[in-house]
Structure formats: C-alpha cells, structure tokens
Symmetry: C2
Subunit: 346 residues, 2 copies
C-alpha cells in the first residue's frame, strides 16, 4: 500500500520548491510510485492546447517527426506536457489503470474511459511511444501513463454521445453550471457573446432557471446567430451590438427588458474591453459573471467604481460541483444544442 | 432649468463616440451648461494619481512652472486631468457650487466640502489658475470647476478628523465595506497582506463581523506588522509568510485555524502571483475576495479549476453602498487605527 500524497499533488514537485505542480518547472512522473490518493491513467490521446500545438508545429516547420520529437523532449524534461514557450497544456483521454485505495469511494473502476478536466500543465505524464499525430485537430495518440491527483477533476465519457461531442461541451462546462447556480426564477439575464459555444449553453441554462416569468436577452454580432438563438428558443430576445460599445449595448439591452436594469449579466465575449458592456446594464446588487478569459481584472474593478455601480462581479471558475452532469444533461435534453454542436464545434 | 444629461455622463463625450467619459479622448468641460442631474464643484485642489504626477514631474525635469504648464495643457486639450501617457487621473477636493434640481434629495448643500471618489480621468474639469504645486504629495491647488455626474460617487469631508486622515482612509474604502458585507458571525477569515492600509481595515471589520466565535487570521511578511496586528486586537492570529508561496501560506494558515479550511479569504497583497495563496486555504463554497489590483483574472480562474476548488471568487469593487460611512466609522471608533494611519499614511 502506497503512502498518501498531497491532495493538490505538491509531493510530485521537483523544482522549484514551494510552488504547485502547474507553476513548477519539473515534476516527478515516476509511475511506479503508488500514492494512495492518486489515480493512474493509461493514456489514449493528448488534446494539446491550441496555442501550444501551433507553436510546436511552427517551430517544427510542420514536420510530424519533429513535432513528435519536441513533445517527447518536453515531457521527458519536465515530467508534464507544458509547452515552455506558451506555458499552456491541454487535456487527455485515457482509461483508469489503477485507483488509489483512499479514493475507493469514487464512482470509477479500472477500465473506465475518462477525460481529464485539469490542465496537462499540472499533470504528471510519461510517454512510451507516440502512435499518431493528428495535426488538424491538435491531437496526439500515445502509449503512456498519467497521474490524476486527489483534487484533479475529470469526466467519465458517456456512451450515449460521440467522444468529440462530449469533449466540445465539457470544454466550457463551468459556464452553464455557474449560470444554473446564479440565475433564479423570474430573473432578467443578459448574455453577452450569446452565439458562441459557452454563450449558447449559458442561454439554455438561463432559460431553464429563469422560467416563463424571467427574461433572457442574448447579445451577439451576427444576424445568423440571432436567428439561431430565437428559432431554438434559447433566448426571449436577442439584440445585435458590439461589446466594445457599452452605451449601444446598454440602450438596446434595456429596451429588450422593458427599460429595466438586469438582475444578472454573463460575459462570454472573447475580446478585450467588454467589461463595461457587462457592468452598465446590471441593477444595484445585481451580479456580473465574467466567464470570458479576455476579462481584465483592473478594468472591471475600476470600471464599476467609475460609474458607481454596487454590483457583485464574479471571476468565472472553470470548476463547479456537478458541472459535467449539468452540461451533458443539457446536450442530452436538447436536439437543437446537439445539432449546433455537431455542426460547429466538432 | 437645464435639460437632463446621461446618468453616466455620456452626454459630455466629444470623441470618440459611443464610449464613456473615462475611455473618451476628449470630453466637454463647458461649465455654463447646466444639466439638471449634474453637480458643479468649485475645486480647491487636485490629488494627482501618483504614477501620473511622477511622469509629468520627470518630463518637466522637476521644474514647477513646466509641471503647471503641462497640467494646463492636458486639461485644456482633453477637458479632464487624464495623463495621456499613464491613462490615470486622481481625485479632487472642492466645495459644492451648484446642485442640479434632479439631485435635490441628496444630502448635500451649496458650500459643503467634498472629495470625489471617482477618478479625474472621467471628470469634466476647467482650470482658471494654478495657485500652488506641492510636488512632495502630488497635490496641485487650483481655482477652477469640475462636474460630478449623477452616478459619480463622493464623500462629504467630516469635520471631526483631519482632511489628510479622511482621504487616506477613503482611498481604500471599498475593502472594509465589502468585508463588512461578506463576513458572517462565526466565520473564519484569512486576510493576506494584513499589515497594509486596506489589510488593516479589512481585519478590523472582519473582527467586528465574525465576533468572538469567529477566527480572523492575518498574513503579513514582517514581525513588526505581526506585533502591531496582535497588540491592537485586529486579528485572532497572525502568520508570517509570502503570498507567492501558496503551500507555505496554506500550511501555516490551516494550522492557525485548527486545521480547517477558511470560510472567506481576502487578498490585499499588492504583488503579482498571489492568487493561489488566496484560493487554496478556502473551503468548497467559500468566498475568495480579491481587493488587490495586482490580481490576474486568468491566474485566478484557471488556478481554482486546476485544484478543483468550487469557491466563489469576487472582483473587488471600489464602490459599495455606505462604504464612506463604514470606513470613517472604523477610523472614529478605533484610536489604534487613527494612530497607525496618522503615523504611516499621512
């Protein structure tokens, strides 16, 4: 029986000392050490983060052999697939090889197929052999093993939908799950960037939670997205605007909400300087939820102060309890969601 | 009687169109226009933002006449004192000259002395004459006028404490006010950067709200700050650590809380990469409140996901209802706070 490791994986940090595995330069990927609160995974494939894969591909001049050699070099040097230039990782798909005895109450058994929902940039990894490189989808098939720590989150891959569909939805699972938690019956909700992958899922969840007495207004930039959102009943109203023009968003959004300020706004706009467009339309004591990674902390903090808005601004956390279940349930419930995801995101 | 302007001041934006006054290059500082929801202020002095004043002083080679000329040039060109290099503003002190008729229910009368709590970077300003430049404290005395919009926040300067003391406290008024709102009786609270200006105020409020059944733990870097916090009963416990070393903070903080994770953590650490030290010690469903402007949005969002922490992370909003009253009340109540502020921040 192995000894117990740190819940966050700190026992595998080699250098520098005192940091967590994501910030570490090098971590211990010795798969023969059996800590009692780790999960050993037989890896099937790595989904390399897009910016990382693009960098490696360009450095290798597109040559698959060189791409493979670079990946092997990084993983053998660092003990994890964290691109030293971009700092980013990706995720992996694999099968449970061994479940530490402290985790025996998990709903997992040897052989279960999972996707990790924590980054490769913090995941101990050992590659025995690269078996295929799929340059067009940033995917690398390997033989090898990886470790999930006690705190590491993952999803069992469902057998009632394609792997590609499940992965596309799980990629943004935090957003609909947070929406489901934040939105109350009867709320008015503004979703910025409503036509994108996370935006559509947020609208879907907001409609469910706000109910018929609520009012879900989407903002998008194209007439095509507007049509899609309205036809499928993903929003009560959809406005066309540009999140970098806060006054235009404000005017159109209020008009779509009987002139009233919103209870909740959700930012899924992946461009910079969208902060004020999310803050202005919300009422005092309302909630502004930033899911977009393009959000600037200082612009949000100083922006709300500058207009005297006492709103609660929340940093979108990619993890929320039951986020996998909530997101896959939405995909299962809605044929329209499945059709859109299959057409656009696979 | 004047017409009604936009609540956020958009009616005074000259260029570019569609943005708010802070993002605008040039705004309208015509003081003869009387909008019914504006406040006209006779300005006494400008407290120029420190990075802005340093830039101007350096460009002027320290020459006061050139500093004055540069300030006049900026204000006449842009209609506001927003340094085009740093983008920053500052705040002003003045007396109410005229209160628009739509704001007659405000607790203000002509002649009241106020400090603006919105930035000079969004405040219409006209300077008739610069009467003194105090280079050592980034302060410029002027004759001139400014406009506060309907959404613009301000504080009436109290007559029971020095102007300098009131301004030092109001500078960070959002932090103790948010603390007062977040912390519940019996909560365990971790304050990082507890020895600084906002940190001390947060500890003071957290002790009041958590009460004797709560546990307020401060983290600071110097033995001197630790002593000060404990002697004055601003914390139950104080640990010495470095916010860039999350595992050290985690270990010491949990030890100071009977091994339990915290209900709330508050970041007042003004250095980068303190996000994980704030996130790790907090329990699932707990609250992480980032007041530090050095916070990085992506590091917070991805960091919590990487360790599977379902915590609510809040962007510190400089404005909260009653933040002036809450902060000045703390200064009035506590002789120890007054002594520390008078010694260190004036």
């Amino acid at each position: 029986m192995g000894q117990k490791g740190d819940k966050y994986g700190a026992h595998r940090v080699i250098e520098p000392a005192g940091v967590l595995t994501q910030a570490a330069w090098k971590i211990d990927s010795d798969m023969s050490k059996n800590y009692s609160n780790e999960i050993l995974v037989d890896v099937i494939s790595l989904n390399i983060d897009s910016s990382s894969f693009t960098q490696i591909k360009s450095e290798a001049g597109g040559d698959k052999e060189k791409i493979g050699a670079k990946i092997l070099e990084i993983v053998s040097e660092r003990g994890k697939m964290q691109n030293p230039v971009t700092g980013s990782g990706g995720m992996l798909i694999g099968k449970i090889a061994c479940l530490g005895e402290d985790l025996s109450d998990r709903d997992l058994k040897v052989g279960d197929k999972i996707a990790t929902l924590v980054s490769l940039s913090l995941t101990p990894l050992k590659i025995d052999e690269i078996t295929a490189i799929h340059s067009d989808i940033d995917r690398v098939d390997i033989k090898g093993q990886a470790i999930l720590f006690e705190s590491g989150i993952y999803a069992k891959l469902p057998d009632d939908m394609s792997e590609a569909l499940a992965l596309a939805a799980l990629d943004v699972a935090g957003a609909p799950a947070q929406t489901s938690r934040l939105v109350k019956e009867g709320d008015s909700v503004l979703v910025l960037g409503a036509g994108g992958k996370s935006g559509i899922l947020c609208c879907y969840e907001a409609m469910k939670k706000a109910g018929p007495k609520g009012n879900v207004v989407g903002m998008c930039r194209s007439q095509e997205d507007r049509k899609k959102l309205l036809e499928n009943n993903f929003c009560h109203e959809v406005i066309l605007s540009d999140a970098r023009k806060p006054l235009d968003v404000l005017e159109k959004a209020l008009k779509a909400n009987s002139g009233k300020e919103f209870d909740v706004s959700i930012s899924c706009v992946n461009i910079p300087s969208a902060e004020m467009a999310c803050i202005l339309p919300v009422r005092d004591d309302g909630v502004v939820y930033f899911f977009s990674m393009a959000t600037d902390f200082a612009k949000a903090a100083l922006g709300a102060e500058g207009v005297g808005k006492d709103v609660q601004m929340i940093v979108g956390n990619g993890y929320t309890k039951n986020h996998v279940d909530i997101t896959l349930a939405a995909i299962r419930e809605s044929q329209a969601l499945r059709d859109i995801f299959n057409a656009k995101y696979i």
